[in-house]
Symmetry: C2
Subunit: 353 residues, 2 copies
Amino acid sequence: MEEKAYKIAVIPGDGTGPEVIREGIKVLEAVGRKFNIKFNFTFFDWGGERYLKTGETIPEGGIEELKKHDAIYLGAIGHPQVKPGILEKEILLRIRFELDQYINLRPVKLYPGVWTPIKDKGPEDIDFVVVRENTEGLYAGGGGFLRKGTPYEVAIQESINTRYGVERCIRFAFEYCRKRNKKKKVTLVGKTNVLTYAWDLWYRVFEEVGKEYPDIEKDYAHVDAVCMWFIKNPEWFDVIVTDNMFGDIITDLGAIIQGGMGIAAGGNINPNGVSMFEPIGGSAPKYTGKNVINPLAAICAGMMMLEWLGEESSAKAIEKAVIKVCRDHLKSLSAGKMGYTTSEVGDLVAKYV
Amino acid sequence: MEEKAYKIAVIPGDGTGPEVIREGIKVLEAVGRKFNIKFNFTFFDWGGERYLKTGETIPEGGIEELKKHDAIYLGAIGHPQVKPGILEKEILLRIRFELDQYINLRPVKLYPGVWTPIKDKGPEDIDFVVVRENTEGLYAGGGGFLRKGTPYEVAIQESINTRYGVERCIRFAFEYCRKRNKKKKVTLVGKTNVLTYAWDLWYRVFEEVGKEYPDIEKDYAHVDAVCMWFIKNPEWFDVIVTDNMFGDIITDLGAIIQGGMGIAAGGNINPNGVSMFEPIGGSAPKYTGKNVINPLAAICAGMMMLEWLGEESSAKAIEKAVIKVCRDHLKSLSAGKMGYTTSEVGDLVAKYV
Ligand SMILES: CC(C)[C@H](C(=O)O)[C@@H](O)C(=O)O
Ligand SMILES: CC(C)[C@H](C(=O)O)[C@@H](O)C(=O)O
């Protein structure tokens, strides 16, 4: 068997990011030994600490460096001593935007043995994927202040939606649904009855592109109703497609029903470029450095990365090992309540792959 | 005891609206007999049916008519044969905006005996209030299209936030929290790390106004995280304040944990003008005319209306009767599964008040 090699850019980032990425790498290397895959990791120290020391978020040429890799593996961005928005916009969102990672892919899957906070639902009910647009909408940064600091201040925030951006996102959702080959249903989640510009465009494109996929059922739901259905009827969903802001909200709700931040991972995908994979839990300052955070989300992000690189057998091996650890070992997926340390969980998964 | 009289404008509206409002009025009249309150109801036939027949949403002078009343009692707005946005914007949102009902007040309270879809939480855990800004943000209607219908189309949707609008909303939340006198905590829910114009204003005003309320704890959380906490830790909340769009989303999630659309009610409040009370479940076309929809949400909207009119004893009497019906009678709060018809549920509540 020929050895394959991948160049992976690693951004451990802030808070518990480095701890979980360490375990993710441990598992990737274990699976790599088994499947004859070599990973060449390049580390980037971008994040709050560096910013506080140097004032720099991404150094000059940083984005170009990332482009030389096959994928990016990210821990977490966000630091309690840095004003909200700076690191998020100048690191995380900048990478998403400049590498044109126009899809945020979030599988919501309850593994057997994992505790969900909702009643009467099991792994057979909770298995869907959210396709979130990742490069425009309210995240585009449009807007500004008028008369800032006065009693007459106005603050505007703009959601920018382009035919180009919406279409490629919706098309991705239909293609993904076809490949996934489960319920064969795509649900557009929006707010057509109030946001009558943005969602008129989304709805028109959904109907138009949808015609090219006669084998796939199409559905539309308002974002407020969908939040209820995630809790009462998660089994209704297969593939969901939505904009950046609504996607941000509903994927966190999705995370909680699949067991929480301890397990939820996502991919920032550019199908023709460099994609980035991350646990979605954030930097969790309160658990930092204690070796108690759950690394499974980062491990699952690594699994998604392998899948995306085309390494399906090794991805499957990680998924099986994660399921085994959830079912046979962990008392809970929450930080500090697992019954194991962060490193022990990483060791277990590495042992089982 | 002197008789009090109130002029109530009633808009039964679409779908199941008329059925639930009928029961709400039954209960109001029953409680009125007991507490010597007279209601003079004026009915307005605004909604989808009228629009389809006449092309008219609110007839000329309609808003002025509403202003002559002490309160407005609304069933539901939304019709499957009318393009999304027309009735919502030209009736519901127009009333909210033109009567300057700048607060959307949504108590999230789990009554004893009511089934919640989340595990390990009871009435002692689920008891908070969402104060949603109701006259600006993404609901202001700002935005437009560029090159509509072409491959180069851009659709913009604007969130407009004013110091004036944000401040009065935040101030209302603090005042309400003080009067409520429970956990004495106000949580601002936003997205400061991405929507850095709108939420910078909100956050600054929250800090500034908050200083006037040293007796009240202040907290901030991102909207995505809050969706998780509603499910995992609803007991953390007391009063939540947020913008129009986020409020729309999180209050539906709140509705589901308090038992669903069968029970959830809200008030559109103008503290110095005419306020409007409504069940938040929508027009539910699929149950229309079947006498199976749950009228408790409309009944609770009537209760909120009484409370707001200063009729606290009669409001309390309705609440007690609702709790009794939930605990001793209904099999479920869902339409068609109550074990009683819509009218029977109204009869029961009317009997117990
Ligand atoms: C950290 C933050 C900027 C980010 C977002 O809002 O996209 C996060 O919540 C996510 O979902 O990846
Ligand atoms: C019907 C719709 C326009 C409305 C809204 O979005 O405000 C509803 O969802 C609500 O929450 O009252």
